[in-house]
Amino acid sequence: MLNTFFQACLSDFYHGFYYCVLITAFAISLIYYKTAGKAFKWIAILIFLTSISEFIALYVGLTYGSNGIVYDIFTPIEFLIYAIIYNLFLNNRTLKNLFVGMAIAMFVIDVANVIFFQPITEIPTNTMNIEMVLLVFLSLLLFISIRQKPIYENIIAEGVFWFNSAVLFYYSFNILIWGFYGIMYDMIDPPKINRQMLLLSSSLLYLIYASSIILNCTSENKMRLKNA
C-alpha cells in the first residue's frame, strides 16, 4: 500500500513537484513558526493543514476511489483559516463581523451542496468556486486597505504583499481553470493541461506562502534589530 502511495505521489513530474513543494513549505512553516507574525502563523497552519489534507485525499482516493469527502470537510475549514488571516491583516471591527458571516455561510453552503447538489463522493466544485470568488474579493479588499494606509517602507519586501498577490493570482486563475475543466470533463480523452496547470499553480501558491513567512520573519528581525 505504501508503495502504491509513493507511486501515486510521484506518478508524473507535476504531482511529484506539487507534493515536494508541499513538504518544503511545511518544513519552512515549522522552522519559522515561532518568529512569524500572528497572521503568518495562521498561514503556516494553513500550509500544514493543506499538506495533511492533500496526503489524506491521495490516500482516500487510492483506497476508496473517491476523495470528495476530504475536500467537503477541508474547504470550509480552509476558508475559515483564510478569514482569520484576512481579519488579522485588515484589523477592522466591522469587517470582522463580515468574516465571521462569510465563514459561517461557507459551512452552510458546503452542507447544502452535499445535500442538494454534489454528493459527498464528488469533489465540491460549487463550494470551491464560491470560496475562490470570496478569496479574490478579500484579496482585493486587503490591497485597497494596504494602499489606503501605506505604512510599509518597501512593499515588495513584505510578506503580506506576496501572500495577497498569490491569493489574487491563484484564485482568479483557478476560477478560469475550473471553468475549462468543466468543459473538458465530458471528453473521452480530456487534455491533461488543466490538471497540470492546477498542480503547477498550487505548487507556486504554497511556495509563495512559505516565502512570505520567511519575508515576514526577516522584516520582523529587522524591526527587532532596529528597536534594539
Binding site: R147, I151, L168, M187, P190, N194
Partner: protein
C-alpha cells in the same frame, strides 16, 4: 475522432489564451497597485510628518495652557491675598468694637460681683437679686459681642479660603453692608486723612438669594475699593467744595437683585470703558493694582449667570450695576 481532437485542441487554445489574458490583467493590476502605493506613500509620509508636527505643536500648546492655568490660579490667589491685606485694617477695626464691648462689660461685671459679695454679707437679698440680674444681662451682651467677633474672624477666613463653589442662601444687603464697612475701615486705617460719605439704600424686600458669598464678597470689595480709590484721587485734585461720596443701592428688579455702587470720583474715560474688564488692565500706578480685580469680578458675575454694567461720566461719576438672578426654586 478527428472532430474530438479538433475540439480538444480548440479548448486548449482557448484555455491558454484566457489564462494568459487573466495573468496579464492580474499583472497589470499588481503593477498599478505598486505605482499607486508609491504615490500614496509619498502623500502618507507627508501627512505623517505634518501630523507629527501638529501633535508636537498641540503638546506645546497644551503645556503652555497648563502653565497659563497655573499662573492664572496663582494670580487669583495673589489677588485674593492682596484684597485680604486690604481688609486686614478694616477687620481689625470691626473686631475692635465687639472686643471693647466684651472688655467693658467684663469690667462692669467684675465690679458688680464685688458689689454682690458686699450685699450678700449684709444679707440684702433684694439688692443681690437685682445685681445678679445685671450680671446676667451683661453676660448676654459679652456673649453677643463675642459671637460678633467670631463671625468677623470666620468671615475673614472664608474670604481667604478657596471658593467651594457651593451656593448658599445669602442676605445680599448684609453682605453689601459688611464689605462696605470692611473696605472703608481698611482704607481709613491706611490713610488717616481718608474720609468719605457712605450712603446706603437697601431694599428690605429683597429675599435671600443663592450665591457664593465668598465670591460676591470679593467682587463687592473690589468695587468698593475702586470707588474709594476714585474719590480719594479726586479729593487730592479738588481740595475745596468736594464731598467724596460712595453710595450703595440694592433693589429687586424683575427676576434679578440689582446692586448699584456709585462714586462721585473721576469717572472712567469713555475710551477705556470697554477695557476695564480685561485682565491686567489698570489705570492705577505700577505696584498699586494688578489689573485683575474687575476681570475677576466679571468672571464671578458670569459664573452666577448675572450681568455687570458700567455707567460713567468722565470727571463726574462712575456707577457699577450688578444684576444677580433670583433663582426662585432655591431661594427663601
Amino acid at each position: 475522432m478527428l472532430e474530438l481532437l479538433q475540439v480538444s485542441v480548440n479548448s486548449v487554445g482557448v484555455s491558454l489564451f484566457a489564462g494568459l489574458l487573466v495573468i496579464g490583467l492580474l499583472f497589470g493590476f499588481i503593477i498599478y497597485f505598486l505605482f499607486s502605493y508609491r504615490h500614496k506613500q509619498k502623500d502618507y509620509i507627508l501627512l505623517q510628518t505634518q501630523k507629527e508636527e501638529i501633535d508636537h505643536q498641540k503638546s506645546v500648546v497644551e503645556k503652555t495652557l497648563e502653565e497659563l492655568k497655573t499662573t492664572q490660579s496663582q494670580l487669583i490667589h495673589r489677588e485674593r491675598m492682596a484684597s485680604l491685606g486690604e481688609l486686614t485694617a478694616g477687620i481689625a477695626h470691626e473686631i475692635q468694637n465687639p472686643l471693647n464691648f466684651v472688655n467693658n462689660f467684663s469690667d462692669v461685671n467684675a465690679e458688680l460681683l464685688d458689689e454682690l459679695q458686699h450685699e450678700l454679707k449684709n444679707g440684702n437679698t433684694n439688692e443681690v437679686l437685682s445685681i445678679s440680674n445685671s450680671i446676667k444681662e451683661n453676660e448676654q451682651k459679652i456673649n453677643h459681642h463675642g459671637k460678633r467677633a467670631d463671625a468677623i474672624v470666620k468671615g475673614m477666613m472664608q474670604h481667604s479660603r478657596q471658593s467651594t463653589g457651593q451656593k448658599e442662601l445669602t442676605d445680599v444687603n448684609a453682605l453689601a453692608s459688611e464689605y462696605l464697612k470692611l473696605s472703608y475701615h481698611g482704607l481709613k486705617a491706611k490713610d488717616k486723612a481718608f474720609n468719605c460719605n457712605m450712603i446706603t439704600h437697601f431694599d428690605e424686600g429683597i429675599q435671600r438669594i443663592n450665591i457664593i458669598p465668598q465670591d460676591i464678597g470679593r467682587l463687592l470689595l473690589n468695587l468698593y475699593n475702586n470707588a474709594f480709590y476714585a474719590v480719594t484721587e479726586k479729593s487730592k485734585l479738588i481740595k475745596e467744595g468736594y464731598e467724596p461720596t460712595v453710595s450703595v443701592t440694592t433693589k429687586k428688579a424683575n427676576k434679578n437683585v440689582e446692586i448699584r455702587i456709585k462714586d462721585n470720583g473721576m469717572g472712567i474715560p469713555q475710551k477705556l470703558v470697554n477695557k476695564i474688564f480685561q485682565p491686567f488692565f489698570t489705570t492705577k500706578p505700577t505696584g498699586q493694582g494688578t489689573g485683575l480685580g474687575l476681570s475677576l469680578s466679571y468672571d464671578i458675575i458670569k459664573a452666577h449667570g448675572g450681568e455687570i454694567k458700567t455707567e460713567t461720566k468722565e470727571g463726574e461719576f462712575a456707577e457699577f450695576i450688578i444684576q444677580l438672578p433670583i433663582d426662585n426654586k432655591n431661594n427663601l
